[in-house]
């Protein structure tokens, strides 16, 4: 590897991780570099390209979901790990353990009798003016007074080689899952390099974490149910939540999946309520309980459940207080006061500007500091005063003097540098290390490794994933043999059989049910629109297209508009008005129930259930989203393309999704929508016979996609009786109503396997609905309705619409009703009391 390391030049002033200042390689890097050299540059390039492809592919499922349009932002990983020697790691670990102990004691004091404040060890502002101090958390006493079950610490290395702390993460530390993924990718890509470097394994740490969480369970003698609480797909680290849930074998839930009943926490599943014992949360304190905290989000009653000891939340609610940046300058004193020890691991020199002398000290020598927010709730980036214009500088000083307590200053130190793989060469980048500590029965344990984050450029000190920086694996070299621990079940241990699907969160089933409905709604509206467009634009019969007005009226009913909204006299003559109307039905984003809305809702729900649908299905939703945003003027081609996409979605849904309860809900939604919408448009188009019935019948066959079936079967012109038989009664026509009813009945039969009472009601209803259509005698109806409006047919179709709705309500009520939103009740003080309105 001479060729690679030879060109590598460290950056003056920064500690070089890989080499001594004289340019010789540090010994603990040597085995890794030797193996890298054995692969050779070209081989490394090829292997790494393959690895990046696999990251991207996983990335599609495991990515940040912030923007639905952006589904393939890959995780940035560098192939060259940071290598750390065993002795050095020992020093870091001891310091981290001491720090975890300290931060925990700090929380115990501040949520306890606050000696640190009454004895004036800490300025009271750091607690009382700190929104992270949640007073309601004082009532919670976590098991064994451990507030921090998992801690993450950002470390930077000073030019003299000493590691220093930049920041603590005590609330819901992120990144351990990314570290694990990095390890998997690098070790798989360079197996011999990994094997021969004697790298300490990460799995042991996660085994400890899992053991820890099980121990926390308040119910002894039960296998604990542990869940990971995520803020949802919008969270930037959602990938990691889903990843850790899979790796640790826990269910991933959102606040709406949980409910508090009689001070106990339950997850709302299709199989009913399941008790939750331990919550590993990735949700901020503030968003956990709207009753206890000043927020609209969360699970009402969660704090009470925690106070009652019926559920344990890790990290404890309120633990975010310890990561307040303004605490950093006071930690050395706290080490002495709370532990009676000197700190083994120092923080980067930090001043809190809330003290007049410190503020002056910072302003006097502004360029040697990095200015950061003093409290976690202030979301502003770090400022490097040296890079500011004179105006910006004056502005910064003004802001600091106006509100000094909101700022800290950290000494600007050059971060150490490590080699990164860049266009086939090693190139230096600044790095910071995020290390992890977990509580265990036998004290704190440190993850041997961590997440390395790298700067974007060699000359930039900005190290942040959201700014486009990268990441690395951290290899801690073992002193002796590497011990092997895997989280996979040991051979011989019993496999616990779970009945699949029963624990599916009701929220997911609800989402899938509506996804099915909206997809089908979009399809039928598109078909209707396409039929109308054809009649508008293609060559017409000499007498015009008399059925067009009828079709427009039916479209209005299907999109739930007021009838007068669409009455366009002579649609062909008023072509412009007609096209404008149709354009609105497609694209108007204010419309309550048009095609735009159906597609938008499909995409929105698709994002929410993204971890439940296949990658291909997700891609289809993404294309749908693009169609939506494009606002094409070529409506016929747009509709053609959209119908292809929708058909692909239905096909994939059938083929690539496990036919578990989730799928049954989705298909049931699909079928209920199709039965209802078909009944509506048959009612609108067929129950008032007119002189131009034949073109109307042709249009109906076209919309119902049954024209070919009809012609091969009857080989005559369209006429009402055979058409009704095909679209209403024929159980073999997948577009017809009878077919939908059969499937709805089947879905309901399968759902009745879920442990609920009274399910027989909807089974009877579904069965009756099938019989109702079966027994409907077309000929007799025709005789009775002779020469008049088709009242009997109208009655039947209305019956189908109403009963399907009733069925939908029953199923929703039975399985999904507890997925309701919460709202706040308030009383007013003074004034309006007599007849005050509650504020939602």
């Amino acid at each position: 590897m001479d060729t690679l390391t030879k060109q590598y030049r460290p950056i003056p002033g920064a500690y070089p991780e890989m080499m001594h200042p004289d340019g010789t390689i540090r010994p603990h890097w040597q085995p890794m570099l030797n193996r890298l050299e054995d692969y050779g540059r070209d081989n490394v390039i090829v292997r790494w390209q393959r690895a990046q492809r696999s990251i991207r592919q996983n990335g599609v499922t495991y990515n940040t979901f912030g923007d639905p349009g952006d589904i393939s932002r890959p995780w940035e990983l560098d192939p060259i790990p940071l290598v750390i020697s065993p002795d050095e790691w020992d020093t870091i670990s001891t310091g981290l353990i001491q720090r975890a102990h300290l931060l925990n004691e700090l929380l115990a004091d501040l949520f306890g009798n606050q000696d640190l404040l009454t004895r004036a060890v800490l300025p009271p502002e750091l607690v009382y003016a700190n929104p992270a101090f949640h007073r309601s958390c004082c009532r919670i006493s976590p098991p064994n007074r451990i507030y921090i079950d998992m801690l993450a610490v950002d470390l930077a290395r000073m030019p003299n080689g000493e590691w220093r702390v930049l920041k603590d993460h005590t609330q819901a530390p992120t990144g351990a899952g990314y570290a694990l993924e990095n390890r998997l990718v690098v070790s798989r890509t360079f197996p011999s390099m990994y094997r021969d470097s004697r790298v300490q394994r990460l799995a042991g740490f996660f085994a400890e974490l899992r053991a820890r969480l099980s121990e926390l369970s308040p119910r002894s003698g039960h296998a604990p149910r542990i869940v990971i609480l995520t803020a949802g797909p919008d969270d930037e680290t959602f990938f990691e939540h889903a990843y850790l849930a899979r790796y640790l074998g826990y269910q991933l839930v959102q606040v709406n999946d949980l409910t508090v009943r009689q001070n106990k926490v339950y997850i709302k599943t299709l199989g009913g309520l399941k008790r939750v014992d331990v919550i590993l949360r990735r949700q901020a304190d503030l968003d956990c309980d709207p009753l206890a905290f000043d927020s609209n989000q969360g699970i009402p009653g969660l704090v009470e459940a925690a106070v009652a000891g019926e559920v344990v939340i890790a990290n404890a609610l309120g633990s975010g207080l310890a990561e307040t940046p303004a605490l950093l300058p006071f930690l050395p004193v706290l080490f002495r006061q709370l532990l009676g020890e000197e700190p083994l691991l120092q923080s980067v020199p930090t001043l809190w500007c809330g003290q007049p002398a410190e503020l002056q000290q910072v302003i006097d020598n502004l360029d040697s500091w990095v200015i950061k927010p003093a409290f976690s709730h202030i979301r502003e980036p770090a400022v490097f005063p040296g890079q500011l214009s004179p105006d910006q500088r004056t502005d910064l000083i003004g802001r600091m003097q106006a509100n000094p307590k909101n700022f800290i200053a950290q000494e600007s130190i050059p971060l150490s540098i490590a080699p990164c793989w860049f266009e086939g060469n090693l190139s230096p980048r600044h790095i910071i290390l995020r290390a992890y500590v977990t509580a265990t029965r036998n004290g704190w344990k440190v993850m041997p490794g961590g997440l390395i984050r790298t700067s974007i450029k060699a000359d930039s000190m900005v190290v942040a994933m959201e700014k486009g920086g990268g990441s690395k694996d951290a290899w801690v070299i073992a002193k002796d043999e590497v011990s092997k621990i895997s989280l996979l079940p040991q051979e011989g241990s019993e496999l616990e059989v779970e009945r699949p699907g029963e624990t599916l969160p009701s929220r997911i089933a609800d989402n899938l049910f509506w996804l099915g409905r909206y997809i089908q709604r979009a399809e039928l509206q598109s078909r209707m629109l396409r039929t109308i467009m054809r009649r508008l634009t293609e060559e017409t019969l000499p007498d015009g297209t008399p059925e067009l007005s009828e079709l427009l009226r039916a479209l209005a009913v299907m999109t739930e508009q007021k009838p007068e909204a669409c009455i366009i006299e002579a649609p062909i003559a008023n072509m412009d008005a007609t096209i404008r109307y149709i354009y609105d039905v497609i694209y108007d984003s204010e419309h309550p129930n048009n095609l735009y809305r159906a597609l938008q809702q499909s995409v929105r729900i698709g994002i929410m259930v993204r971890d439940r649908i296949s990658i291909d299905t997700w891609r289809i939703l993404d294309r749908m989203d693009h169609q939506l945003r494009r606002s094409s003027l070529d409506i016929p081609s747009m509709l053609d393309e959209l119908l292809m996409i929708l058909a692909a979605f239905s096909g994939l849904g059938y083929e690539s999704m496990t036919h578990g309860y989730g799928w049954h809900f989705m298909d049931m939604g699909f079928r209920m929508e199709r039965a209802t919408m078909n009944a509506i448009f048959l009612r609108e188009l067929l129950t008032h016979p007119s002189d131009y019935e034949e073109p109307v019948l042709d249009a109906v066959l076209e919309i119902a996609s049954s024209a070919i079936t009809y012609r091969t079967r009857y080989q005559t012109r369209a006429s009402i009786l055979p058409l009704l038989d095909l679209l209403l009664k024929d159980p073999a026509n997948p577009r017809g109503i009878a077919f939908q009813l059969e499937l709805i009945h089947e879905h309901i039969r399968i759902l009745s396997n879920l442990p609920r009472d009274g399910q027989i009601t909807e089974q009877i209803l579904a069965h009756d609905l099938i019989r109702l259509v079966e027994r409907f005698d077309l000929n007799e109806a025709r005789r009775m309705d002779q020469n008049s409006e088709r009242h009997i047919l109208n009655g039947l179709l209305n019956e189908i619409i109403n009963r399907t709705q009733e069925l939908s309500n029953l199923v929703t009520e039975r399985y999904l009703a507890h997925v309701e939103p919460t709202q706040q009740l308030f009383t007013l003080v003074g004034g309006n009391l007599q007849d005050g309105e509650g504020v939602r």
Binding site: Q114, R261, P300, G301, Q823, F826, L828, V829, G836, E837
Partner: protein
């Protein structure tokens, strides 16, 4: 003076609701000039969980959860409370400019307890406009309590009491610019003013006695929840002032509890699961014991 207090809150929903989680601040806390003789809380439908505790500020809080289908929830508190007269505000005292510095030197739980009321709270962020308004009461060297009394008097005379002007979500900035509001708004405004000067101020929730017009019968449910302000004068302790009525709190005031702002001591805060609209109705009767006994006799 002994009072019979009855405060009934009714929530009516447009659709039945099954789960409601409530946090109540309705029982009077003990303070040196006030003693609760009896207090009875009734929640209907019957809650499955009811837990009474002292909150961080020492108030009596009640958590309760209702878990059955209902169309209306009723919360009734009936208390018998004796209120004694309080010492008149002291003269002399800390000049306002030194308030925070003096507060900082106070040690022990009482000092740090007062200190927490100097800072922004969730509903009351710092506002430059309120500081400007407050400076109108800031003659140099003026003692904290005199400044506070002046501020109270100014708010009372310059702001109009107007129940139609505000809701629970009205901000201090809106109150300041419209110059109108109700007791809660005036209390919030005065607290924000005092805090902008570095003075500790807290929000007090309770009731005030009303007198029926001469010759008229007391109307049932005509009283209301009330809110006023506690100001901390480092040398003399807490001074309670009511900007709505321009007077220090006296025997006519029943104290329920205090906090940084309304959010800490909201009489009834609830979360319900389900859709639909809801309506709130509250009736308060605060009747002096003697009058109460007379009414009882008349009824018999």
């Amino acid at each position: 003076m002994i009072y019979r207090l009855r405060h009934r809150t009714t929530f009516e929903y447009s659709q039945p609701v099954t789960f409601v989680y409530n946090l109540l601040h309705l029982k009077p806390r003990d303070v040196p000039w006030q003693a609760g003789h009896a207090s009875k809380l009734t929640v209907l439908p019957e809650p499955v969980v009811l837990n009474e505790y002292r909150d961080y500020f020492g108030n009596i809080a009640t958590y309760c959860a209702v878990e059955q289908k209902h169309e209306a929830m009723r919360v009734l508190i009936e208390s018998e409370i004796e209120v004694l007269s309080r010492p008149a505000p002291q003269t002399g005292g800390t000049p306002w400019e030194q308030s925070q510095a003096e507060l900082r030197t106070l040690r022990g739980p009482a000092g740090t307890d007062a200190f927490q009321f100097c800072f922004d709270s969730p509903l009351l962020p710092y506002l430059e406009e309120t500081r400007q308004y407050a400076l109108g009461s800031c003659a140099p060297g003026r003692p904290v309590h005199e400044l506070a009394m002046d501020l109270m008097q100014r708010i009372h005379s310059e702001f109009e009491y107007d129940p139609s002007s505000t809701t629970v979500t009205t901000t201090v900035a809106e109150v300041l610019s419209h110059r109108r509001g109700v007791c809660q708004d005036f209390a919030h405004l005065m607290i924000t003013c005092l805090r902008s000067l570095g003075i500790a101020a807290r929000y007090i929730s309770g009731y005030i006695q009303t007198t029926p017009p001469p010759g008229k019968q007391r109307l049932r449910g005509a009283d209301a929840s009330h809110a006023w302000v506690g100001v901390f004068c480092p040398r003399n302790g807490w001074l309670d002032l009511d900007p709505t009525n321009n007077k220090p709190a006296n025997e006519e005031f029943i104290t329920i509890g205090w906090g940084r702002d309304y959010g800490d001591v909201c009489p009834v805060k609830g979360m319900l699961v389900g859709g639909g609209e809801h309506k709130v109705k509250a009736e308060v009767d605060m009747i002096p014991e003697q009058e109460y006994l007379q009414m009882q006799q008349q009824q018999q």
